[in-house]
């Protein structure tokens, strides 16, 4: 087995100082974070809400990790890894001396157990499908075998993954919450309640969970990154309306209102200098888009779909949401690798759009339906879209429904147009591949899939597979160029009209310290709990 590259402990040493914050971190204190909704679970195999996602990251670890505040991979529980030249074998060396919160030392068998558990259908993990590149996945996912044959532990500190196809996203998958390592004995003892009694290797351990009220996370003094975390603890208070959470933050009772600044209060907060100075703005891996069902007339005609792209006045829609976004030109958000810089997208041109409609045989326009989720600001955005469409002769009636109902209609393919707001794709991991398969690829264009445009271009699927077979880190630019091409071809076919990329606005109390990037961390929303600290 020829080795392509070797990331060693040295890489870790180089990676860690990269986050050296401007301020010297201070140890101690308790941070208070609020949320409207309950935390459903802290089981890394189950949790898939944006709010429990970052808490799970603090309680558990995976083989791979991200540099805080960035989308750059760094070694996690594995101090090094090797990739075989054919890209089909990944060998991870575990960091010695890592302990679970229950005191037991982590061994390679725990990794094997954790992966098998996620893939096992009895676990009902929403992340099961992420592991489909591992050899033996199908048999295990269907429940024919208990173990994924491609994962093995030759000794206590080595884990080997054999893949059935080369996949450049595999290291990102190893950094995903679903691959976080859990101790078998704790899972078996707690059974279905493991999500309420989590035991991991992470920087924090769960100290208290009063259902419906609060969770208290306490510093893990034996954490394998010395000096981390900085906080002694953080308290998550649930059941707090965002408006009330904001009042409490203004009163100094809350450090971070987790649901952000409510839309109705946004202008007021940003106009007030003292409050605006406490708000950190950052990009996020999100795109808001309109899907057009390409299997049904009139959207089966590419001219019509391009006309819709040209009809949307994106700047005005950004104004509708008080400038909390930037206009989008393509499916990928600007902070995502593979984004095509310099591409302007479809120009806002009503006359041109009308011409295209006439070319397609719809000179007099047509009637259609626009599905939208019924929470603010989405119905208002839908109205703006409706007016833009009206201007070129398309009469779209708005169907404003609960989230689950819109998702159902999108999956069933009964919705001609959907505004994605409130359900839009936010990347699971920072890689362009994650914006393709489920939402633009053929695999998602099935009954119940998330490809609501039902767009399936087998040629692009082939290109995507080619791009993802480039696993050599030295050829990463070649791979990203391929992805950029794929998204440009998507824009030509225009199954979507990308509208905007939402910005994130996190409010923090004046006493909170740490680099601003930690408060808009692309993989930990709202904040990276492990690295923020209290200044006083």
């Amino acid at each position: 087995m020829k080795k392509l590259f070797l990331s060693t402990a040295l890489a870790t040493l180089m990676a860690l100082p990269a986050l050296a914050p401007a301020q010297e971190p201070k140890q101690g204190g308790n941070m208070v974070v609020t949320y409207k909704d309950d935390v459903a679970t802290l089981d890394p195999a189950i949790g898939y809400d944006w709010q429990n996602w970052s808490m799970i990251k603090s309680v558990f670890d995976g083989l791979m990790d991200y540099e805080p505040g960035t989308t750059k991979l760094r070694p996690g529980l594995a101090e090094s890894h090797e990739i075989s030249e054919d890209g089909l074998t990944y060998t991870f060396k575990l960091r010695p001396g890592v302990k679970f919160h229950n005191g037991r030392e982590l061994v390679a068998d725990d990794v094997v157990y954790s992966i098998n558990r996620v893939v096992n259908p009895a676990t009902q993990s929403p992340g099961q499908g992420f592991f489909s590149m591992i050899e033996g996945y199908d048999e295990a996912a269907e429940g024919k075998t208990d173990a994924v044959s491609g994962v093995s532990a030759p000794d206590d500190s080595t884990v080997v993954f054999k893949l059935s196809r080369p996949d450049a996203t595999f290291l990102h998958i190893m950094a995903l919450n679903f691959s976080f390592i859990v101790p078998k004995e704790a899972v078996e003892e707690a059974g279905a309640d493991f999500g309420k009694k989590p035991v991991g290797t992470g920087a924090f351990k769960l100290a208290e969970w009063t259902l419906g009220q609060r969770l208290v996370f306490e510093k893990n003094p034996d954490y394998w990154i010395s000096g981390v975390p900085y906080l002694d603890s953080f308290t998550v208070e649930v059941g707090q309306e965002p408006v009330v959470a904001l009042l409490r933050a203004q009163n100094g009772e809350v450090d971070v209102p987790g649901d952000g600044i409510p839309p109705a209060k946004f202008v007021e907060v940003m106009k007030d200098e003292a409050q605006a100075s406490l708000v950190v703005e950052g990009g996020q891996l999100h795109t808001g888009y309109i899907t057009m069902n390409v299997t049904q007339p009139p959207f089966d005609k590419v001219e019509v779909r391009r006309a819709v792209n040209m009809a949307i006045n994106k700047d005005r829609i950004v104004q509708v949401i008080n400038g909390r976004a930037v206009p989008a030109t393509q499916p990928l958000p600007p902070s995502m690798p593979g984004y095509t810089a310099g591409y302007e997208g479809y120009e806002f041109d009503r006359e041109g759009a009308k011409k295209l409609l006439a070319d397609a045989g719809y000179a007099d326009g047509f009637d259609t339906e626009l599905f939208v989720m019924n929470t603010d600001p989405n119905p208002r955005i839908a109205q703006a879209i409706q007016q833009d469409l009206k201007a070129i002769g398309i009469n779209a009636s708005i169907k404003s429904l609960a989230q689950a109902n819109v998702i159902e209609a999108g999956g069933a393919g009964t919705a001609p147009m959907i505004w994605s707001g409130g359900m839009a794709w936010i990347a699971d991991f920072p890689d362009p591949a994650n914006f393709y398969g489920p939402i633009l690829g053929c695999s998602g264009a099935v009954e119940g899939g998330w490809n609501w445009a039902k767009y399936c271009n087998p040629e692009l699927d082939k290109l995507a597979a080619e791009a993802d077979s480039i696993v050599d880190p030295a050829k990463v630019d070649e791979r990203l160029a391929k992805w950029s091409d794929i998204y440009m071809k998507v824009m030509e076919d225009a199954p979507w009209a990308p509208v905007f990329n939402e910005q994130r606005f996190t409010m923090k109390s004046p006493r909170m310290g740490g680099d601003d990037a930690l408060y808009v961390d692309p993989v930990s929303i709202p904040v990276n709990y492990d690295y923020v600290f209290i200044k006083e």
Binding site: K36, D37, D38, A40, T41, D43, I46, Y48, P121, A122, Q124, P126, G127, Q128, G129, F130, S132, A141, E142, G143, A192, D193, G195, K196, T210, L211, G212, Q213, E237, G239, Q240, E241, V243, V244, L247, R248, Q250, N251, E253, A402, Q403, A404, N405, I407, E408, A409, G411, W425, D428, P438, S443, V446, E447, G448, G449, W450
Partner: protein
Amino acid sequence: MAVYILRRLLQSALILLGVSFITFVLLYVLPADPVRQIAGRSATAATVESIRQQLGLDQPFLVQYANYLLNLVQGDFGRSYLQKTEVAQLIASRLPATLLLLVAAIACELLIGLPLGIIAALNRGKAIDNGLMLTSFITVSAPQFVVALLLLFVFAVQLGWFPIGGYGTFAHIVLPALTLGILGSGWYSRIMRSSMVDVLRADFIRTARAKGLGRSKVILGHALPNAILPIIAMIGIDIGIFMSGIVVVESVFGWPGIGQLAWQAIQRVDIPIIMGVTLVSACGIVLGNLIADLISPLIDPRIKLR
């Protein structure tokens, strides 16, 4: 008496069965798939089907309903689809908060509503009566969300007398109870007024006055006990009104009760929780009415339970 209670309990059981059936039907025909909520957006069709099978959601409607009932009579409410926690445990952890709020809110309603109703009745037709009845009209029509935020802003944020939402101490309960109290007091003051007006016209009040009893003695000693009867029945009905209104108030004040639990479950199509909370609330309403009916003859011996 015992026969009456037994019959009422049987009726109650039938009502609950009906409630469970209707709720189950509504959730079944809902155009939203709970399995998709569990499986998440990245799940493949195979994952979705496997979860559907494991939860028995691929079974025909009546089989699903029968299974649910079968578990229910064994005291098993099932596990939350998304939290995986036992629904009984989730409800039990939140029920005390809701019951506490129920008692405090009804106490507030009575403390505000009854005196106002009595004052209005004693001043019938005068400006003070009209003013009070107009006020009660406004309070029963005011949106909970607005009143709750208004009280929160004035008394918690501006004046700082009470905490801004939360749970735990006496100070925490004042504002949510007051919100419900102010809004519900209008019903009580109107009923109290009309009942009192009727009683004040009665012969025995005239007799009491004629024999020279003081005004306060007549009102509190003779008129009030006779006028209070509709109020007792009203409390029974009020439990139902309370249960339907609790969602908003619990949300605004961050009160960890079952209303909040239900609201979150509805948004995520977490059917076991929705069913559980609905049944527990229905139980509360049925029991509340039963108790009100049982108390009435203790206050007015003319009422016979049959």
